[in-house]
Structure formats: C-alpha cells, structure tokens
Symmetry: C2
C-alpha cells in the first residue's frame, strides 16, 4: 500500500470501533458495515486504510499487543533483583488486564480466533522478551524453577487472563485481597521453595 497522508483520526476510529464490537459479541458480531457505522465512515472507506477484514483485525491486534507490552514494562528496570523485577512486571500486567479492560478483553478474544495469523501471533510475542530474560536470569541464580517458559507463563501470566474474563463475565469481582493472593500464588508456583527463608 502506498504511503498516503490520510486522516489518522479515521484510522483510529476504525480500530476502536473494531475493538468495541468484537468485545461486545465476538468476531461474529463485527461486520464491516457495523464497524464503518460506528466509526462514522462509509464501508468503502475502510478499504482505503486496510486491505481487507483480516488485515484490519491483525493490525488492531498488533497495535493493542504493543500497547500491552509497553504498559507491562513501563517501570521495569532489568538491573533490579529477580523477585522485585518479576513483581513489578506481574503487577503491571495485572493492572493492564483489570483496568484496561477493553484492550485486555480484545486480546483474549484474539487468542482463540483463526482470524489472527500465525505470523501476527509471532510478532506479538517479540516484545515479551524482557520477561523471558528475567526468568532465565532467575533460573541461573537458582531463584526460579528450571522449567519451560511456557510453564512459567501458564502459571503466572495466563491465570490473570482467566480471572479478567471471569470478572468481565460478571462471575466474580477481583479486589485488592484477591490480587495479593494471586500474586502469592503466581510466585509460589514458579519460585524455588526456600524453607530457611
């Protein structure tokens, strides 16, 4: 696509409309016509900014994923000790999932749809590297269990997605106490037990 100086506002409105509609009732409930209407734009205009629906959704995905990782590492310093660094990142991720619900919910919707290409998923993961590096350092120092990063992710980050979705579905409400307990659970699951602490 040739670089054009089209209105960035319209592009943003389209992306936000996409997020909002997908959140509301899944990809199923986000036809191009509705997206256009919500963004106050003609359906045909979408195709000036995006190649097609796949392209639109994947672009939104990458944009939101990037917001997510920026947020997660905002006040992380790789020179911090392992446990402190982990807690900072974990709490930022929790914040994002519980406060930026629109964005977090959209990402959760994307996790399971074939609308997102393998390529986009791969790209979306790249910016998570600082967390993987931290874990590796923790393992070298004998603080974090020597297990696959997939396991580390499954037991520390993924539960937050589940809790966020449940909270959004109205099943229950996460308060400060729950969050504290969730952090303890996450850390206990991946840290090397130390009975002499």
């Amino acid at each position: 696509m040739v670089k054009l100086k089209k209105s960035i506002d319209k592009r943003n409105a389209l992306m936000e409309a996409t997020i909002s509609l997908v959140n509301n009732n899944g990809f199923h409930a986000a036809p191009m016509s509705k997206i256009a209407k919500m963004a106050n734009v003609s359906p045909a205009t979408i195709y000036l900014y995006f190649e097609n629906k796949q392209d639109l959704v994947n672009k939104v995905y990458l944009e939101v994923k990037s917001q997510f990782t920026s947020y997660a590492f905002e006040n992380y310093d790789p020179k911090l000790p392992v446990e402190a660094g982990f807690e900072i990142i974990w709490r930022r991720i929790a914040d994002f999932k519980l406060k930026e619900t629109e964005e977090a919910l959209f990402l959760a919707q994307c996790d399971n749809t074939p609308m997102i290409s393998e390529d986009s998923r791969q790209k979306g993961l790249v910016h998570l590297q600082p967390l993987l590096d931290l874990w590796e350092r923790g393992q070298k120092e004998g603080i974090i269990k020597p297990i696959s990063p997939y396991l580390l992710y499954a037991y520390t980050i993924n539960p937050l997605s589940f809790l966020m979705v449940m909270q959004n579905r109205g099943a229950f409400k996460i308060d400060e106490v729950d969050l504290e307990q969730a952090y303890r659970a996450a850390w206990n699951s991946i840290s090397v037990p130390n009975r002499f602490k």
Copy 2:
C-alpha cells in the same frame, strides 16, 4: 421436539463432525452444509435432530463437558485425604486435556464463543462440584489457602488448558517431566506453605 426413534448413529456422526470441523478452523469454518457432508447426511436432516445451529453446538458442548467431568472424577474417592484427592483429579484432568485432544480442544474453542449460551455454561459447571467440595474441605483443614475458588481454578486447572492449546499449536511438546513440574507448580500455588514438612 417430539421424541422420535431416529438413528442415534446419525446424531453421533453429526456431533463428531461438528467437533472435528470446529477444531479445524473455529466456528467460522463449520457451516451446516459441511457438517452434514462430513456426517454423510443431508443438511435438512440436521434439523430432525437439532432445532438449529445454536442448539446443535450447545448440545455438543454439554455432551463433551459431561464426558470431561466423568473422566476427571473417574477414580476419585471423596474419602481420600485432600492432597491425594487433588492430585488424582488434577492428573485425570491433565490426561484428558493432553490425550483426548479433540474433545479438550473443542471445549477450549467453546470457552470464548458467544455461540454457547450463559445457560449452557452454567449447566456445564455443575458437575465440577466434587472439586469445589474438595477444595473447601482442604481450606477447613488448613491445607489449602483460603482464597476464592476462581483463584484456585485459575492457578491449577486453567494452566492446563493453556498448555494444551500451545501444544496443539505446535509451539512446544509437554513430556512427563513437564507434567510433573506442572503438578508441583499447581500444588505450590494453592497449598499453605509448610516450612517444617
């Protein structure tokens, strides 16, 4: 719908076709016409067994969910001590998710689609009660942390879904060692730490 003595074989074939097609590429890729073709049946025949697509999918969901819970509690005895009982259930669930991949994947697909009604979700949860009871008993005995069952689920069962999906996506392969580590992570996250054990 009036009770008819229609062939149970056709009904089963339709359910299996649904699972297979949904797994292959999401609900998006499972049109009634394809489901019918895969079950060697006319599209019109589906409507002799199910009211409509929603009904079909929800019935399959409840059926598979029920298979899942039967499997999970197959050799569980509520009189077992808490930790032993938990380990038995956890390992059965892990087995189901990692060996009965067709069924487990289908359930994961269902977790995020608006095609499944709130009512069906509710019904699907009912048979999980023995696990909730076990957790409650563990909490009374001071063995399991006094935290919300949603947290307990998020940190012990949900990670298995994540790992299953990742394995199915080819991202990595769970071996015996991973499984052992996963169990330790799950138990460590919810059990009351005991430094004198």
